[in-house]
């Protein structure tokens, strides 16, 4: 079995614009083949031009996928190895450009609500910052050209105009690179189209199982992804947890039928759609219905998706109130503080096949010490070491009931240990788990 993937779930992860995860944007970026590659002289030159035209010490050409911001060109940072050019997405300012229609300009970053949370700002390494979107031929934001100084200072209209023009030039170079790469690929079509598909699949996969997830202060949360025993390279599972309209948070978890690039595309579309729709609608049934519309509209064909979507908000007396909706998905499990386990959510039709999926939202109330578990089929359909007896919902419920006094992370560990003892390496499907637990008042905040 390949190593499980455990995301960090932290309370203070700043929001990343939803457009970052747009599958069309990720595909356009993958097509340039510029992420995590050696510096290119033409881009270095334009970057130097940006620094000298604006009189700043530092200038960067930054590309970002769903996981990393990558310094494709850097001036004023000293020599950087390839590894030193890559940063976690949420620590860099440029991904914010995916959510703005134009430049993002800050005279004093510490006083700018959009940038003040960034580590470089808090550590006083960036005082003045100006970023300009780099766009694909279709207008999708692939990255940013940015200039920065340690000390805060104003930016002139002349500087902004010049840098806007330069960002256009950098975008043109990137488009040229994409066309060159595409031409090369066509020359040896067999090998490299496979490589391109793998690269795109990897890019999409990164957006499905994010390595860092935000959580609200009032929830103890953990997530886990176990790859299938047969080690297929592309997953069909996704999970997500993110704030929507105050004070609501949305948790979603889903599983697309089949494997491979096509499955990953559908799953990427699903996560992006849920992120987008959850800010517009307060019922998880509506969010899943909109996802169903998107899947039906895209004619994803034989692919269908099962998903569970939950909207949560803090309730009275330290509890949490929520709405659960199931689109063809296994019921969520609630473990009460007294060790009883109950199912949550009425069955709804799986998504992507019928125009009307007939979805419902069911209310749930979680008291301190209660936990809500979302999971994909991999966990309940795990085969035993011998034969076809499956682990099943009953076994999962029994293990969950036995998780007395455990926090979210320990509970998921207990479940996966029990699962591996039963199935060994036999489980044939990947498994994603998301556990949301309401902390007890006496507990230290997780």
């Amino acid at each position: 079995m390949r190593a499980p993937l455990k995301p960090l779930i932290l309370p203070d992860v700043p929001p990343v614009p939803v457009q970052v995860y747009n599958p069309a944007r990720l595909a356009a970026l993958a097509a340039t083949a510029l992420m995590h590659t050696e510096p290119a002289p033409d881009l270095d030159n334009l970057c130097e031009l940006a620094a000298s035209a604006s009189g700043t010490r530092r200038a960067l050409v930054v590309l970002f996928d769903a996981r990393h911001a990558f310094y494709k060109a850097a001036v004023g940072c000293g020599p950087l190895t390839l590894g030193q050019r890559s940063f976690p997405l949420h620590t860099d300012a440029c991904p914010l450009l995916a959510g703005t229609s134009g430049p993002l300009v800050a005279e004093d970053t510490t006083r700018d609500a959009r940038l003040a949370h960034l580590p470089d700002v808090r550590d006083k390494r960036v005082g003045a910052w100006a970023g300009f979107p780099l766009r694909s031929a279709d207008g999708l934001v692939l990255g940013g050209l940015c200039v920065l100084d340690e000390q805060p200072h104003p930016w002139t209209d002349g500087q902004i105009d010049t840098l806007t023009g330069l960002a256009g030039a950098v975008s043109d170079v990137i488009e040229l690179r994409r066309q060159m790469h595409h031409a090369h690929e066509r020359i040896d079509a067999l090998e490299s189209s496979g490589a391109a598909a793998d690269r795109l699949a990897q890019t999409l996969q990164d957006s499905l199982l994010p390595p860092v997830i935000a959580r609200p202060e009032w929830l103890d949360a953990a997530a886990l992804y176990l790859p299938a025993g047969n080690g297929s390279s592309v997953v069909g599972d996704f999970y997500d947890l993110f704030p929507t309209r105050q004070p609501w948070w949305c948790a979603a978890l889903g599983d697309v039928s089949g494997k491979g690039l096509e499955a990953a595309k559908v799953t990427a579309l699903a996560r992006y759609t849920v992120r987008t729709e959850a800010t517009q609608h307060s019922s998880p049934a509506t969010v899943l219905a909109r996802l169903n519309d998107a899947l039906v509209r895209q004619r994803v064909n034989d692919r269908f998706l099962t998903a569970v979507c939950v909207m949560l908000r803090p309730g009275p007396d330290g509890g949490v109130r929520g709405l659960v909706s199931l689109g063809g998905h296994a019921p969520a499990l609630i473990r009460r503080a007294d060790a009883t386990v109950e199912e949550a959510g009425r069955p709804g039709l799986l998504l992507g096949i019928f125009a009307d999926a007939g979805l419902h939202a069911e209310q749930v109330e979680l008291a301190p010490g209660d936990a809500l578990l979302l999971y994909t089929d991999g966990v309940t359909e795990a085969h035993g070491r011998s034969g076809h007896a499956v682990w099943g919902l009953t076994a999962l419920s029994a293990v969950l009931a036995g998780c007395d006094g455990l926090n979210a992370e320990q509970t998921l560990e207990r479940i996966t240990t029990a699962l591996s003892e039963y199935a060994g390496d036999h489980h044939s499907d990947d498994t994603a788990l998301l556990l949301l637990r309401v902390p007890l008042p006496a507990e230290e905040k997780p």
Partner: protein, 129 residues
């Protein structure tokens, strides 16, 4: 009775087809999962070529296991039969497969189920009008 032997031992999925007027019975034995899903689809394509429109009774009593890939193959089988203007009904549904169809809302919606073969045959006769 034509059957489809599998190369593996023990066979993970066995399919057999026989006539049951006005339709045909496809009896499914074994596991419907990622490894076997395409076998079912191929068999259904063959059945659809033999009868126009195809009236198919799928006997699920021998299904030991069904996961989401197995479910996909059932949906694709339904699509094929529906596309050819036919009808698909299920008998002998139980266990994980029944749970899965119930949970995904497909039971009754695209997969009518009947307790006995005779009742399934009656239902198909009615669809022919």
């Amino acid at each position: 009775m034509p059957s489809q032997p599998m190369s593996n031992d023990p066979p993970p999925l066995r399919l057999s087809v026989c006539a049951a007027p006005p339709g045909q019975v496809v009896a499914v034995h074994g596991a419907l999962d990622l490894n076997t899903a395409t076998h079912l689809e191929h068999e259904v394509v063959k059945v659809c070529r033999q009868q126009n429109p195809p009236l198919v009774i799928m006997d699920m009593s021998g299904v030991e296991f069904c996961d989401s890939s197995g479910l996909s193959s059932l949906v694709r089988a339904w699509r094929q039969i529906d596309h050819d203007g036919g009808a698909l009904v299920l008998i002998g549904l139980h266990g994980t497969c029944e749970q899965l169809l119930r949970r995904t809302g497909l039971l009754g919606r695209i997969f009518p189920t009947h307790p006995t073969l005779a009742q399934a045959q009656d239902a198909l006769a009615r669809t022919r009008r």
